[in-house]
Amino acid sequence: MPWDRNQMAERAAQELEDGMYVNLGIGIPTLVANYVGDKDITLQSENGMLGMGPFPFEGEEDPDLINAGKQTITELNRTSYFDSAMSFAMIRGGKIAAAILGAMEVAENGDLANWMIPGKLVKGMGGAMDLVAGVEKVVVVMDHTNKAGEPKLLKECTLPLTGTGVVDRIITDLGVLDVVEGGLKIVETAPGVTEDEIREKTEATIV
């Protein structure tokens, strides 16, 4: 049975190691925070915070304390605040060990498209381009296919790119794939999912 959203997030959490500074994107990546367990992980919010805490208790929301998804959050005893220039200095400068992001398409060479569908609603890339350009390890969490059942892991992306050759690992509802020389390599399958099923639902070269 393919993984559900929470199982994908739980699997993604295994990518994180003690001591890492990590940026989590919006959507399923946000759920990863629920599964880090005892690991000493510091979450960065690119609007200017290291050490992001959980949502506040009702009535304790602070309009001056939000995350990059504009949600009210709280601070921890390790928290620091800084401005947007400093925030992206550390992102661009390679100080964030891992980013876990959503994606619309990933190509077999690690190209990523996750910010724009031409002709449809155009919202913008926010911090995604900076993150994929600067962060050491980029992990993508996404559905393996679109709603029509068509592959989202492609030979080449069809949508405007967020970055070229930036993805290291892909976690889908069907399994875990790494971007390697020559294409994607299946690292793990979800319970009951076969490598053949993954191959069938993937356009990218599986090596």
Partner: protein, 240 residues
């Protein structure tokens, strides 16, 4: 030298003109210069280019300046929260220059730091890099050449900024994530006008705790802020 003004309108007096470039602080609705935006609306100035990470929401923040059609062009990284923005953009009434968020912040800082341009990997090989100069630098782990694109500093005519506290010399202190784009936006303006929640006496801010020195601040007002929350998210006490 008197930096403290009575009102947002008084503080902007003589600074506004059509076709100007304004840099605005804030992220989403957090730390936005609410009072100064209202005063810009009231002034009726038009054909503005506004560099701001977001464009407010419908009817609040920079959304007000979109409703009145005073903005010609936005320089932003994310505009997904504003339906009127989308309508004007898709109908061709509004120009939009997308900037990756970190590039936008760095471009503002650069303008304020006398840096005319800088090389970043962000956006190389994407639409954002199209038409921009590409250069390689040997910054790879083993000295391999890597591709960078040239981004230029933003030199704004005016900065509008929200801080938490100021002293009367313009030294600023921000609070939590409301700091965000406010310091870089403040830095890049020829003139910088700041609204704060409280003006405190000189000497009451610890000189080591000042986030932006008064040299970057030309005019200050104190006022009441709505500080609207875009997405209230909470947890129940029993979850604790």
């Amino acid at each position: 030298m008197q930096k403290v003004y009575e009102s947002a309108t008084a503080a902007l007096d003589g600074l506004l003109r059509d076709d100007m470039l304004i840099a605005a602080g804030g992220f989403g609705l957090c730390g936005i210069p609410e009072l100064l935006i209202d005063a810009v609306v009231d002034s009726g100035v038009k054909n503005l280019t506004v560099a701001s990470n977001n464009a407010g929401v419908d009817g609040f923040g920079l959304g007000k300046l979109l409703d009145t059609r005073q903005i010609k062009k936005m320089m932003s990284s994310y505009v997904g929260e504003n339906a009127e923005f989308m309508r004007q953009y898709l109908s061709g009434e509004l120009e939009l220059e997308f900037n990756p968020q970190g590039t936008l912040a760095e471009r503002m800082r650069a303008g304020g730091a006398g840096i005319a341009g800088f090389y970043t990997k962000t956006g190389y090989g994407t639409q954002i890099g199209e038409g921009k100069e590409v250069k390689t630098f040997p910054t790879g782990p083993d000295g391999q050449e890597e591709h960078y694109i040239l981004e230029e500093g933003i030199f704004a005519d005016l900065s509008i900024v929200k801080a938490w506290k100021a002293d009367d010399t313009g030294n600023l202190v921000f609070r939590k994530t409301a700091r965000n784009f406010n310091p870089p936006a403040a830095m890049c303006g020829k003139v910088c006008v700041v609204e704060v929640e409280e003006i405190v006496p000189r000497g009451s801010l610890d000189p080591d705790h000042i986030h932006l020195p008064g040299i970057y601040v030309h005019r200050i007002i104190q006022g009441e802020h709505e500080k609207r929350i875009e997405k209230v998210t909470t947890r129940k006490r029993e979850e604790a």
